[in-house]
């Protein structure tokens, strides 16, 4: 049996992406992607997690002032997230 933990750090144009995953017999069984913008605090991030038997989940943690979004803005954000999360989960599924 082969069991590995792999950690990758990628520098992206606006921030750093940490990829950590567990690979069992060449198959990824668990992963965590954490993105941190260069101008964000260390406790602000976007994180995509996956564990076996659990739905993959995307968390966004950004410090904000009181949220006063308009419905239109919120709808844009959630539409975009919907698209992006579909793509992200698909990429992992076929990795």
């Amino acid at each position: 049996m082969s069991l590995r933990i792999i950690k990758e750090i990628h520098k992206l144009p606006r921030g750093q992406l940490y990829i950590i995953y567990v690979e069992k017999n060449g198959k990824i069984i668990k992963y965590r992607y954490v993105y941190n913008g260069y101008n964000w605090n260390k406790d602000e991030w976007i994180r995509l997690d996956h564990k076996p038997e659990e739905p993959s989940h995307l968390h966004i943690r950004r410090r904000t002032q009181i949220i006063q979004y308009e419905l239109e803005t919120l709808s844009k954000i959630f539409n975009e997230l919907h698209k992006i999360s579909d793509q992200a989960v698909m990429v992992i599924k076929h990795a």
Partner: protein
């Protein structure tokens, strides 16, 4: 940057060493760390570390709970801890489940004090476990065999 930890080819000592590195960094064991840890409040470094730390602990537990413990020359430090008395205690615990320190002392005809300290060390390195029943501490092990591989 890419780092690979090949868990399947790491010795128990190497896994323990990595775990100790995290324990030193955070000044606590994983279970203590997780008590105060909230994934939604954590910083990036903690999110990365805890993911790796949990996998290392899981692999260590898997190996120590297996009936067959495989040690390699890299585990010399652990092998050194297996003194004749500690091996005798392990052997007794494979035959009789749930023994108190005084049961073991009687069976081995040894002073209770040395049995207690041997049990505490064996428990600390994870080769035996204990449970409290009616205020008395009982020891047990999942081990049946210890294999020392020379290459």
């Amino acid at each position: 940057m890419r780092e690979v930890l090949n868990l399947s080819s790491m010795s128990i000592s190497e896994i323990l060493q990595k775990i100790k590195m995290f324990e030193r960094k955070y000044g606590k064991t994983l279970s203590e760390f997780l008590k105060d840890f909230d994934e939604n409040e954590a910083n990036v470094e903690e999110l990365v570390d805890v993911f790796i730390w949990e996998e290392l602990e899981k692999e260590l537990k898997r190996r120590l709970l297996s009936p067959k413990l495989i040690l390699s020359p890299k585990d010399a430090e652990l092998i050194r801890l297996l003194s004749p008395l500690r091996l005798e205690i392990l052997s007794i615990l494979t035959k009789h489940k749930n023994l108190t320190p005084s049961d073991i002392a009687k069976k081995l005809n040894r002073p209770l004090g040395s049995i207690v300290s041997a049990l505490s060390l064996l428990e600390k390195i994870g080769l035996i476990k204990s449970r409290n029943i009616d205020g008395r501490k009982y020891y047990y092990t999942h081990l049946e065999e210890i294999v020392i591989k020379l290459k």
